[in-house]
């Protein structure tokens, strides 16, 4: 017998759910699920009262016992917290995903060519596509690596590009390119694992594309950039240590790839070669997947007070004795002022039209833009160009007067450090609120993880859907009270 049409199903968990004035990913109208969500809706709506809550608690417990936590420092002590996980997945049909995949691949290749260029021949300045001063004034532009060749020409081995769906057009926009040390992939993999255990029947009904090939693909790329033979390449993952908020991810990825997890104090540079300190003496290292920021990598080259890195590492890197992923200096490509030029990079380097939209951006470094921004602060989002993780940001429409004035001063004092955009009304996905026991729409973004081997870009279908669990909030970062959802890309259209 065919399943009952969706509108005949008792709405159960979704009783009284309102789609509001935003694009709702799940419902086209109240009680009317979009086609990709139809099966999920039936499964969830059919649950007995209390059953969903029970499953949710099981999922939470599973995250706790596995120690999938992150550390917040707001209280000065460093407390471990669960990254809240919302059981209702976000779903994308295959055709929509394929367009995203093409758009992201195009972008990653262009960003890599840009990095090769600005740290190499610098043709883009000569061809007047972007002013040299704008690039050189990026806080994360690293003069130290100009002219330093990187293994196989790859800078952007791993990118986490943030996408949002605009409620007005229903289209995806790129919000940020994270091409330094993006984190979150471990949540994609663990969310999926917990999801398949917690809602197995719904998962099975939906035919979801798998994501668990990520670690193997990353390991393959890391091996391929080894300066010595690939076969016995010694690869390590460099973590700032147990107190880093992404420590769980570092150990998870090291374990999944079967490589050593090291801290700066485990490494030593001697004669321009990097070694690990083992119980049987020094062992040479060929590739470092580093999760330590540029400025902490080497106290002889960058911040002299850093204890997280390895003194002399940059010497070994320059000599070509060790490969780093991602490359040093990538921060110039995800600078929020440079962001405005990425469509131009795509046209310039690839001769193609950008597939994905970008959000119109005001560069406060331009006098015309600056005066517009200062006059419209209460309508705009202002972002510091070199920051990430939701820090250094002003949400004009919700900010109080004092905060707006504070930013006005900051922008005036250092205009190059800020950009502004109109607020994108993010789409929403139904999310469970444990405090009320009901489901309500919450804003989401999407961070797919792109791996680049110098030839092709591999993106595991979906990525991390981050959700602003607080009502009306548009800030999805985990450090700011955000949570996550599993992202299902369907085989077909659902």
């Amino acid at each position: 017998m065919a399943a009952a049409p969706a509108h005949m199903v008792n709405p159960g968990l979704f009783e009284g759910y309102e789609t509001g004035s935003f694009y709702d990913e799940m419902f086209s109208a109240p009680g009317q699920p979009r086609p990709p969500y139809a099966k999920l809706f039936q499964k969830l709506a059919a649950m007995a009262p209390g059953q969903f809550e029970e499953r949710r608690k099981l999922a939470d417990l599973s995250f706790l016992i596995q120690g999938i936590t992150f550390t917040v420092y707001s209280d000065g002590r460093g407390t471990e917290r669960l990254f809240p996980f919302d059981l209702i997945p976000r779903i994308l049909p295959q055709s929509e995903w394929e367009r995203i995949d093409r758009g992201l691949s195009q972008r990653v290749v262009a960003l890599n060519l840009f990095l090769q260029d600005v740290y190499g021949k610098q043709m883009i300045f000569k061809d007047r596509q972007i002013p040299r001063w704008l690039v050189y004034s990026c806080p994360n532009f690293r003069r130290e690596v100009i002219g330093v060749g990187v293994s196989r020409g790859i800078y952007t081995h791993i990118c986490g590009i943030d996408l949002v769906r605009d409620s007005k057009s229903g289209d995806f926009y790129v919000l940020e390119d994270n091409v330094r040390t993006p984190s979150g992939i471990s949540y994609v993999l663990e969310n999926r694992l917990v999801m398949t255990r917690t809602l197995p029947d719904a998962f099975q009904a939906c035919e979801v594309l798998p994501v668990n090939h990520y670690p193997a693909e990353l390991a393959r790329i890391l091996r391929s950039i080894s300066p010595r033979s690939e076969d016995d390449a010694q690869i390590v993952l460099l973590t700032p240590g147990i107190h880093n908020s992404a420590y769980f991810e570092h150990s998870f990825l090291a374990q999944q790839m079967g490589i050593q997890l090291v801290e700066g104090r485990d490494l030593i540079v001697d004669g321009g070669v990097v070694y690990t300190k083992t119980i049987r003496g020094l062992k040479r290292v060929d590739v470092i997947y580093r999760r330590v920021d540029d400025e902490f990598l080497d106290s002889l080259t960058f911040r002299p007070d850093s204890l997280l890195g390895v003194p002399g590492l940059m010497g070994a890197y320059r000599a070509g004795n060790v490969a780093l992923a991602n490359a040093v200096g990538n921060g110039v490509a995800d600078d929020k002022a440079i962001y405005a030029f990425v469509p131009a990079f795509i046209r310039y380097y690839l001769g193609e039209e950008p597939i994905l939209n970008t959000v119109p951006t005001y560069l406060c470094a331009n006098p015309g833009d600056l005066s517009y921004v200062l006059e419209h602060l209460s309508e705009l989002v202002v972002k510091a160009v070199g920051e990430s993780g939701g820090y250094g940001m002003l949400m004009g429409p919700t900010a109080d007067r004092a905060k707006i004035e504070e930013f006005r001063e900051r922008i005036r004092a250092n205009p190059r450090n800020y950009i502004a955009q109109h607020v994108v009304p993010l789409s929403r996905v139904p999310s469970y609120d444990p405090s009320t026991g009901s489901v309500a729409g919450r804003h989401v973004d999407l961070r797919p993880y792109c791996l680049y081997d110098g030839q092709k870009v591999t993106i595991v279908p979906g990525g991390l859907t981050r959700v602003a669990l607080q009502r009306d909030s548009l800030v999805v970062n985990s450090s700011q009270g955000g949570g996550s959802k599993d992202t299902w890309v369907l085989r077909g259209e659902g």
Partner: protein, 318 residues
């Protein structure tokens, strides 16, 4: 294997062992106390604090030792670095820094134990008595040994765990015998029968009570108890057995053969094992138990230092 990882494995095992030993001693003493008169009350709790090596700290926090404050001190106090909760927390911290190198089951087990012990409310447990809490820690440690044995490759990393918990166990057993013996000799009532209950408690705290009876077929005698805990070749909590385990683990790491040694730690471990193999308990008592045990403790400390020098630390290169 990275030196740091070897070091974390070594300490992970030591902390688990220390938590278990402390739980055993607390539990057994508490039950003995319940069966006893009030007279020797003070004597049964003070030694526990001395044994943990935290006498000074205890005196600064409490007055006279009693069942409640010793339990609180040894089980829960955050500022007592040897308390059970602190040992479990530190074991977990070490496990966390090497969770990519231990099995998922080991990590989840120790993480679960951490959440269990930190969720107890000290005031409830003090009111209820230590049994429930101590039992849970004891079986938590046993489960960890079992999970480790069953899920981790018995490679050199496993040997560092074995060396860690065996060395800790040797030291704890030595302290246990030393402190209890000393205390009982000083405190024996001038009239009446010697207090065998204390020695039963000592045997029970290392799980050797039944083994003692099978071995000696006699009443509990202090010398025989000491013999069992110091010299027994097979009991897993005797000092001799534990020292042999340390030696075996170190040899497995270095690959050195019987009769030879590859480093100072192995040389000292070999010396301890040989001495315990050929010493007799009457000789030990003749030369003085306290001095003998102190010498063993000193050598255990030196073994720990030499392990660190050999495997964990790199001299700073100028």
């Amino acid at each position: 294997m990275l030196s740091r990882i070897a070091e974390s494995l070594f300490w992970l095992a030591r902390y688990i062992e220390r938590a278990e030993d402390t739980a055993r001693i607390l539990d057994v003493n508490y039950h003995m106390m319940l069966e006893q008169s009030q007279q020797s009350y003070r004597l049964r709790w003070e030694p526990l604090v001395i044994m943990a090596g935290e006498e000074k700290l205890f005196r600064s926090l409490y007055g006279e030792a009693n069942a409640e404050n010793v339990f609180e001190f040894l089980a829960f106090r955050q500022d007592n670095p040897s308390s059970i909760v602190q040992c479990v927390s530190k074991a977990r911290e070490n496990a966390r820094t090497i969770r990519d190198r231990i099995s998922r089951e080991m990590w989840e087990d120790i993480n679960g134990l951490y959440y269990t012990v930190t969720r107890f409310r000290p005031e409830d447990e003090i009111a209820a008595g230590p049994h429930r809490f101590c039992d849970l820690v004891k079986f938590g440690a046993h489960r960890f040994h079992g999970v480790t044995d069953a899920t981790m490759p018995h490679d050199e990393g496993w040997e560092f765990l074995r060396v860690g918990w065996s060395l800790e166990r040797a030291e704890m057993s030595a302290r246990l015998v030393d402190v209890q013996y000393h205390n009982l000799l000083d405190a024996l009532p001038s009239v009446g029968a010697p207090d065998n209950h204390q020695w039963m408690a000592v045997l029970r705290s290392v799980g050797a009570y039944e083994a003692y009876h099978r071995q000696y077929h006699s009443a509990i005698e202090p010398e025989k108890v000491a013999e069992m805990l110091i010299l027994h070749p097979q009991h897993p909590r005797s000092i001799r057995f534990s020292a042999s385990e340390v030696q075996a683990g170190l040899r497995a790491v270095s690959g050195s053969l019987a009769g030879s040694y590859a480093n100072e730690a192995e040389r000292l471990a070999g010396r301890v094992v040989e001495r315990l193999r050929y010493d007799r308990v009457d000789e030990i008592f003749k030369q003085g138990l306290h001095g003998y045990l102190n010498e063993l403790l000193r050598m255990c400390g030196a073994i720990g230092d030499d392990i660190a020098r050999t495997y964990f630390y790199y001299a700073v290169v100028a």
